[in-house]
């Protein structure tokens, strides 16, 4: 009788304690989110550390939240305040507009529309262009010597294509690409989690994938990146996007995050990605090293 009562009480206490401890979190804080691939997680972490160093604001991280649209929903309904987005994505995937090839124009349009339609502000671009590209494994390159997407189209029926699930439901994704270049891949396209694409190409499960230009794994797997000769993909310049409501509450965030303007070029971003994806370094550590190196934490 006693033992049963005691155990019951203990279990109940443990439950209540856990509810209580996680339930309370008030006070001044902002939430920084990110998409579910290394680069975006890194950027989210960089933003977080920068803000923590330069302001008194408490930062809650919700990194690795999910795909583009999950983050977008979250920022629209205030579950997150900031996340790193790309101009091309904003333009074609979220605004569902046609591709604008000129980077500055793309930025201008996307910033204007996001502000107008969603009350979200685009801060200064970070400097690099992480465009969608197509990459083939070395074996394919050696065999067919392809250099451009159009070259690929000629021999596409011999190749298996694979990509992350998100790619198949975007304006700037699979359907549009296949139509523009008249691609006809062999069999059904393979779909998998974004983190697995390169492994799949590496062990021959597929031949072509939608690589992100600044992915560290491209070098690791010795992939050949092809040229988008007909200009299907828009430019994808990365920038922090923030809710206007959040900016009104904490106007200092704008200047703090803008210290990153043009601070990261293609090579730098690829290098940081490589450290996380290939060398397996911890995201927080890589972010910190980067910020220290640039003296941005002072």
């Amino acid at each position: 009788m006693k033992l049963k009562n005691f155990m019951g009480l203990a279990i109940a206490l443990v439950f209540l304690l856990s509810i209580a401890l996680t339930g309370c979190s008030g006070g001044d804080k902002i939430v920084i989110g990110s998409k579910d691939f290394s680069e975006n997680i890194l950027l989210g972490e960089i933003f977080s550390q920068l803000i923590e160093a330069k302001t008194d604001i408490k930062v809650e991280r919700k990194l690795n939240l999910g795909g583009t649209f999950v983050c977008f929903e979250a920022i629209k309904n205030g579950q997150i305040d900031i996340y790193p987005e790309y101009t091309g994505t904003g333009l074609t995937a979220q605004l569902k507009m046609d591709v604008i090839g000129e980077p500055d124009e793309a930025y201008r349009v996307v910033a204007e529309e996001f502000n107008k339609q969603f009350d979200i502000k685009w801060l200064s671009p970070l400097g690099f262009n992480n465009t969608y590209t197509l990459a083939v494994n070395d074996k394919v390159y050696q065999q067919y010597g392809v250099e451009t997407f159009s070259d690929l189209a000629k021999i596409s029926e011999n190749l298996v294509f694979g990509a992350e699930h998100e790619f198949f439901d975007r304006q700037d994704g699979y359907e549009g690409l296949v139509e523009k270049y008249s691609l006809k891949f062999r069999g059904e396209p393979k779909k998998m989690n974004v983190s697995l694409k390169y492994q799949a190409i590496g062990n021959g499960d597929m031949d072509v994938t939608d690589a992100f230009a600044t992915d560290g794994a491209i070098k690791q797997y010795n992939l050949k990146v092809l040229t988008d000769d007909l200009g299907f993909f828009p430019p994808y310049y990365a920038a922090p996007i923030i809710r206007n409501a959040t900016l009104e509450r904490y106007p200092e965030l704008e200047d703090v995050l803008n210290t990153l303007a043009n601070a990261i070029d293609d090579a730098t971003m690829t290098g940081l990605n490589y450290k996380v994806d290939v060398e397996g370094k911890n995201v927080a550590t890589v972010a910190k090293e980067f910020l220290n190196e640039r003296g941005l934490l002072e």
Partner: protein, 200 residues
């Protein structure tokens, strides 16, 4: 990292606890209704079984559309999943109370309510408790999927491990879940046995 792990464990337990609490209350009530209102019994049992048959990822995704991202959605999903064992065990337990005892209670002048609370529920309690145990142990496992709909919990560390193909992270998130499931299963089974002895 251990800070994040502890947070993950607490969040996981909080979500599961709240869900099991709600589904216990709801489930027991539904079980009682199924027992009292004859023509509703198959409907209620059928609804609970249907909810369990729906694939969890599908149910959570659908709930995400309705309730958005976050912990609340996960809790709703867990509640729906936990209903079947609790409803079914409550209903079966109440039905299986010896008719003699029910007659005796009626004979003593007890109202339906009194009979329920003084005789039928106490006697069915071991079975109801067993249903709650099953619900709890299952919920611990299902709650891992919270990471996919923006909820907190140990799923976050596990998913992170999957994406970076880091066995350590996967284990760090998985081991607490399995340990909690085993501990609660064992502990509650022991309590269940004591409850059965008491009602004999």
């Amino acid at each position: 990292m251990s800070g994040a792990l502890l947070e993950g464990i607490l969040e996981h337990m909080a979500i599961v606890s709240i869900a099991v609490l709600i589904s216990s209350v709801l489930g027991i009530i539904m079980g009682i209704i199924a027992y009292w209102v004859r023509f509703l019994d198959s409907v209620i049992l059928w609804v609970s079984e249907v909810l369990q048959t729906i694939p969890s990822l599908a149910l959570l995704a659908l709930l995400m559309i309705i309730f958005g991202l976050g912990d609340i959605t996960m809790i709703v999903g867990l509640v729906l999943y936990a209903l079947l064992p609790i409803v079914r065990n409550t209903y079966t337990g109440l039905k299986n109370v010896s008719p003699h005892l029910k007659d005796a209670a009626r004979g003593m002048g007890m109202s339906k309510m009194q009979r329920l609370f003084k005789v039928e529920i106490p006697l069915s309690f071991p079975l109801i408790f067993s249903g709650i145990k099953i619900a709890l142990v299952n919920s611990l496992s299902v709650a891992v999927m919270g990471v996919l709909i923006g909820a907190n919990g140990l799923g976050t560390i596990i998913y992170c491990g999957i994406q970076s193909r880091n066995m350590m992270n996967i284990l760090m998130g998985a081991i607490p879940v399995v340990i909690m499931a085993l501990v609660f299963d064992f502990g509650m089974s022991k309590i269940e046995k004591k409850l059965i002895k008491r009602t004999k």
